[in-house]
């Protein structure tokens, strides 16, 4: 079954132009970097907001992982995590491992789950559940005591609610690139110069 004519796949049409090709290569990474910066901006917010903000990059990883499998290399996910770890002055490797695990989970789930809204939702719920368990396990082992899972669970639920917003931002960025691409570099000319 193909989904070449679906709305999601319209990004591939934009790939025919140089801007579109550039976007398809670096767009996912750019949005991941943006969410990493936003992940650190919870100053002045409630406690659970900090943890929810930390999950924003996982949403970007899921979004692109489902729509364009493997468009974000694992190494990039790792580096993004290390970047967040350093800027947050947390233990190095904490968010790095979380983001790598997210990328690999989405990789594993995408081929086996049905496509469409139901499949994407199931994939997101499973990914966030696994990430929450991983965060809780890592935090407990690192602190050498059983930490409450409620804050992480709450953050995961909030992240689920925030997914629509993240997806909208990513889709809007893609749409803007497509619009711009269409005006500046005609697709026809790129295909047969």
């Amino acid at each position: 079954m193909t989904n070449e004519h679906s709305l999601l796949n319209s990004d591939y049409m934009a790939d025919q132009t140089w801007v579109g090709m550039a976007w398809s290569n670096i767009g996912p990474t750019v949005t991941l970097a943006l969410t990493c910066l936003l992940a650190l901006q919870s100053a002045g917010s409630a406690a659970f907001a900090a943890m929810t903000a930390g999950l924003l990059p996982t949403l970007a990883l899921h979004y692109w992982g489902v729509r364009r499998p493997r468009s974000i290399p694992v190494l990039v996910a790792f580096l993004a995590g290390v970047w967040v770890d350093v800027l947050a002055h947390g233990p190095l490797g904490f968010w790095a491992l979380t983001y790598v695990a997210t990328a690999l989970t989405v990789d594993a789930l995408t081929p086996i789950l049905p496509r469409g809204l139901l499949g994407h939702t199931a994939s997101l719920v499973l990914t966030l559940a696994l990430v929450a368990c991983l965060l809780w396990g890592m935090s407990s082992v690192y602190n050498w005591q059983l930490l409450p899972i409620t804050p992480i669970g709450t953050a995961a639920v909030w992240a689920l609610a925030l997914y629509a917003m993240t997806a909208l931002v990513c889709a809007a960025m893609s749409a803007m690139v497509r619009l711009w691409t269409g005006r500046r570099v005609p697709r026809k000319r790129w295909i047969s110069p």
């Binding site: 364009r68 499998p69 468009s71 190095l92």
Partner: protein, 310 residues
């Protein structure tokens, strides 16, 4: 060809699993080294911090107009109760001010008579919180001033007139602060009128626990907790919070709700202040209200703690 098949078939098959294994191994190795607080990680942190701090600060400023309405709403909801308690506290503090002046004078005279070594003066510098650590493991914040403003490793950081943590890493224009609730934090404290000694230990929860408390210590819920000055980490007498017994364990209620961590004050030693710093401008602000721009630029000195620390 489907989008998924396209994604899977056009990439090199083995690269992904190999890089996955390598990054998982690297992450675990980094976690282990961080747990051991290995010195080899410090240069990495410093370099990445120095490179990224301006970017993070710009993003913080850019999204501030979006963030502020939410923060203001939360503040407005709790304002009525706060105004009442502040009014009562203000009344009590006015009474204490006169008494404090007397005691300060006596203290100075007695110190002179006993020839007590003078304690370094401290001065508060207000700054914006640039980023907050997302997670249970680390409870750190990054602030927007650093070495160029006279900040040094170990400087206490205050919010709501209470200590919230201390500086653990300093770059030129930013610094990392580990909060008291962080699992890495250990602070010697004195509790209540009996001045019972203990060590305030962060464990990732909102209320850090009191360790090494003497069995005979007579504590009551609500007793004030202050820094003891032992070990030289903090000056003696800085307020921390109030004692509370939670599930049979003595813990400390901190006034630093995460919602209030937008602007903090660093107590820097006056001996660390760079000579080229414009003191006149800084002092001029200490008596009046200061703008957000000045706070963001780290140009504002809050209440001055110059003089002997109590």
């Amino acid at each position: 060809m489907s989008a998924y098949a396209h994604g899977y078939k056009t990439r090199r098959g083995l690269l992904r699993p190999i890089s996955a294994l390598a990054t998982i191994f690297l992450s675990l190795a980094l976690l282990g080294l961080s747990r051991a607080d290995h010195a080899s990680l410090h240069p990495l942190r410093t370099v990445v911090h120095a490179w990224s701090a301006p970017l993070v600060e710009r993003v913080a400023k850019a999204i501030d107009p979006v963030r502020r309405p939410f923060a203001n709403l939360a503040t407005a909801l709790s304002t009525a109760d706060e105004v009442e308690s502040l009014r009562a506290e203000n009344h009590r503090l006015r009474g204490l001010t006169v008494r404090l002046d007397e005691l300060e004078r006596d203290n100075r005279d007695l110190g002179r008579l006993l020839r007590v070594a003078s304690v370094p003066s401290l001065e508060a510098v207000a700054t914006r919180v640039m980023s907050v650590s997302p997670g249970l493991v680390s409870q750190a914040i990054v602030i927007g001033i650093g070495r160029t403003r006279g900040i040094a490793v170990g400087d206490p950081v205050m919010s709501n007139d209470a200590v919230i943590g201390r500086v653990v890493q300093v770059n030129d224009t930013s610094a990392s602060v580990v909060r008291l609730v962080d699992a890495r934090s250990r602070v010697p404290v004195l509790i209540g009128a009996g001045q019972a000694r203990a060590v305030l230990t962060g464990d990732g929860k909102d209320q850090p626990r009191l360790d090494f408390l003497a069995p005979m210590a007579n504590l009551v819920d609500g007793d004030t907790v202050i820094t003891s000055g032992v070990g030289g980490l903090f000056p003696r007498g800085l307020a921390i919070g109030r004692v509370a017994k939670v599930e049979g364990v003595w813990r400390v209620d901190l006034p630093d709700a995460p919602e209030s961590l937008r602007v903090v004050a660093v107590l820097r030693s006056t001996t660390n202040i760079p000579p080229d710093l414009d003191h006149a401008a800084v002092r001029a602000q200490s008596t009046g209200a200061h703008s957000e721009r000045q706070v963001a630029a780290g140009q504002v000195s809050g209440r001055s703690l110059s003089g002997p620390v109590p």
